[in-house]
């Protein structure tokens, strides 16, 4: 049992907020599972182009994937220094998580605008495009929520300073962030890499 579980006795043995996050993650698995299945069913059913092979820029997406993975590393360090009660390092790594998330969203903005403006793939151009935007857009929305959440934690920490080392909240946010990251690894594999299979 972790320290948190000792601090507040709960009937499940897991801190309530953390338990709620695991429940949300279970639910989100079905959400993204449905979106990914929908993409796999529809990616080859378009009546007109463009097709996945024509437009994916695998080198750029690899970079953005690396960026998101590194933000997960930053998340681990942020939680570590929160538990160590090292304020400056905790704030620095929390900022790095936010930065990683924002850079990822920047990559996604670049990708979407290239697809729309250069390749002419709008939301309703063909069913591959619709499924692609729905899936990656939903993931992008989750990253945005994570960025907002981590920014809020950073601001709260900046305002409250030494008195605020709420590692329970940081851990819950971390669970969410890692989950969103894992979903991206699946999307990267299934959506971007399967083109080469």
């Amino acid at each position: 049992m972790s320290e948190a579980a000792h601090a507040h006795h709960t009937t499940t043995g897991v801190e309530n907020r953390k338990f709620a996050m695991w429940v949300l993650i279970a639910s989100e698995c079905f959400l993204f599972g449905t979106l990914i299945a929908n993409y796999l069913v529809n990616k080859g059913r378009s009546i007109s182009g463009p097709t996945p092979q024509q437009i994916y820029e695998i080198d750029i997406t690899t970079l953005s994937t690396f960026d998101l993975l590194m933000s997960s590393v930053a998340m681990v360090l942020a939680l570590h220094y929160c538990k160590e009660k090292d304020l400056r390092k905790f704030q620095f790594w929390t900022f790095m998580v936010v930065l990683g998330g924002v850079i990822f969203l920047g990559f996604q903005y670049h990708e979407f605008s290239t697809f729309v403006l250069k390749n002419g793939l709008g939301l309703s151009t063909n069913i591959f495009g619709s499924s692609f935007y729905l899936l990656t857009g939903c993931h992008g929305a989750h990253v945005t929520v994570g960025v907002l959440w981590m920014t809020s934690i950073l601001l709260t920490s900046l305002i409250k300073g030494q008195e605020w080392f709420n590692s329970e909240i940081v851990e819950v946010a971390g669970l969410y962030w890692h989950f969103v990251d894992v979903v991206w690894i699946i999307i990267f594999t299934v959506v971007y890499l399967f083109v080469y299979v």
């Binding site: 009937t11 429940v23 279970a26 639910s27 989100e28 079905f30 959400l31 449905t34 979106l35 929908n38 069913v41 529809n42 059913r45 378009s46 009546i47 939301l123 309703s124 063909n126 069913i127 619709s130 499924s131 729905l134 809020s152």
Partner: protein, 425 residues
């Protein structure tokens, strides 16, 4: 919050049923969420997920809907099963027969509930493998359900049954649900299902499980817990009259639909030619519907008039088995002044009776300094958050300016999330 000694296998079956229902909700709602977003995109932004002209498929909608929709029917029936288990044990003066097996059956139903969705779609042409698999899974899910029915019958067997309105509803649940379950097993065979698809036979089937089953169980639950919630009993004479109006009216309406369906009457079509020999059964169904309507009116009269004129209820009007009957009716805001300690399944019963059924001295309400009870602050953020989400959903349904309503909903959701999160505890 669970009190001391309340291990998982001492929880009332209604609590177990609710737990399984919550798991089903958490896992099935995201699927319909995606499906609804997709159809909203089709309507609002011109995508073609379900439009064959754009490469989409209508069958995709059916799959997504039923991956949610089949767990959903268990979401409807499981709480009713839990309620009926509580009521039957109370009014037969016996512990629920096979309690542990009932718990495992509920879990098995919840698990298998995700593996049977395509039995709604046999006629779409799934191919032999999928058809065989979903047919077998559907037959399999009848096993834990059948186990439950036998356990309810065994609970009543040899009991000292008291026929109150609540127990009448619970008993009729078992009978009606069994009838609906039997026609359900018929549908698990793709060969028979192909014959029944989209006919009134299917309408008869699901009304027997969800109306004769779930709704009857819920009525039983209302009559059973009304005195606990309000401190007054509902009128039993009016209740029994309503029960018989419902019972006869329901069967009059839905039993003939079996014959109509087998005779080929299609569902979802509001009219039919007058020379098909369907008039008599349809007339009976209409008369049954009128009876049910009278019963429904009686119920509402009973529910509202009992609030004021109902007989005052004691704390334990039914000689109940579970902890809620140990506290005053209606329960105080803090529920239990002192957390009880549980040592048995049906713990309240064991505090009132010895093992051979002799009545013990009635347990006293614990004396507690009420000012020592800490109640959490009431927050208005959650309800605002719910309103925000409703705004988002409304935005998707409203044809013009829907996006604006949805954006207002988003703003409200974000604001109240922050308000809630940063609220002082």
């Amino acid at each position: 919050m669970r009190c001391k000694g309340m291990t998982l296998l001492k929880m009332p079956l209604f609590v177990w049923a609710t737990l399984v229902t919550q798991v089903l909700l958490i896992l099935s709602l995201p699927v319909i969420t995606v499906a609804l977003v997709m159809i909203s995109f089709d309507r609002t932004f011109g995508t073609g997920f379900f439009n064959p002209g754009a490469g989409g498929q209508v069958v995709m909608w059916q799959h997504l809907f039923w991956i949610f929709g089949h767990p959903e029917v268990y979401i409807l029936i499981l709480p009713a099963m839990g309620i009926v288990s509580e009521i039957l044990a109370t009014f037969a003066k016996k512990p629920l027969f096979g309690y542990t097996v009932m718990v495992y059956s509920s879990c098995a139903i919840g698990f298998l509930g995700f593996a049977v969705w395509a039995h709604h779609m046999f006629t779409t042409g799934l191919g032999p493998w999928a058809t065989a698999l979903f047919s077998a899974a559907t037959m399999l899910i009848a096993v834990p359900t059948g186990v439950k029915i036998f356990n309810w019958i065994s609970t009543l067997w040899g009991g000292q049954i008291r026929f109150t309105t609540a127990s009448l509803y619970a008993i009729s649940f078992v009978a009606m649900f069994t009838l609906g379950g039997l026609s359900g097993i018929m549908h698990s065979s793709p060969v028979i299902d192909t014959q029944h698809q989209a006919s009134y036979f299917v309408v008869a089937h699901f009304h027997y499980v969800l109306y004769g089953g779930a709704v009857m169980g819920l009525f039983g639950g209302i009559f059973y817990w009304y005195p606990k919630v309000t401190g007054r009993l509902m009128n039993e004479t009016m209740g029994k009259l309503q029960f018989w109006l419902y019972m006869i009216g329901f069967n009059l309406t839905f039993f003939p639909m079996h014959f109509l369906g087998l005779d080929g009457m299609p569902r979802r079509i509001y009219t039919y030619a007058g020379d098909q020999n369907w008039n008599f059964w349809n007339f009976l169904a209409t008369m049954g519907a009128y009876m049910t309507a009278v019963g429904g009116a009686l119920f509402f009269i009973n529910m509202f008039s009992s609030l004021k004129f109902g007989q005052k209820a004691s704390d334990d009007p039914w000689d109940g088995r579970t902890l809620e009957w140990s506290i005053p009716s209606p329960p105080p805001e803090y529920n239990f002044a002192k957390l009880p300690e549980v040592s048995h399944l049906d713990d309240w019963w064991h505090k009132k009776y010895t093992h051979d059924g002799k009545r013990l001295a009635p347990p006293k309400q614990p004396i507690v300094d009420l000012s020592s009870i800490h109640m959490p602050n009431q927050s208005f953020w959650p309800i605002l958050l719910a309103l925000g989400i409703t705004g988002i959903a409304t935005g998707f349904v409203v044809p013009a300016n829907g996006v604006i309503i949805a954006l207002v909903g988003v703003a409200m959701t974000v604001t109240s999330t922050y308000g809630w999160a940063y609220e002082e505890p």
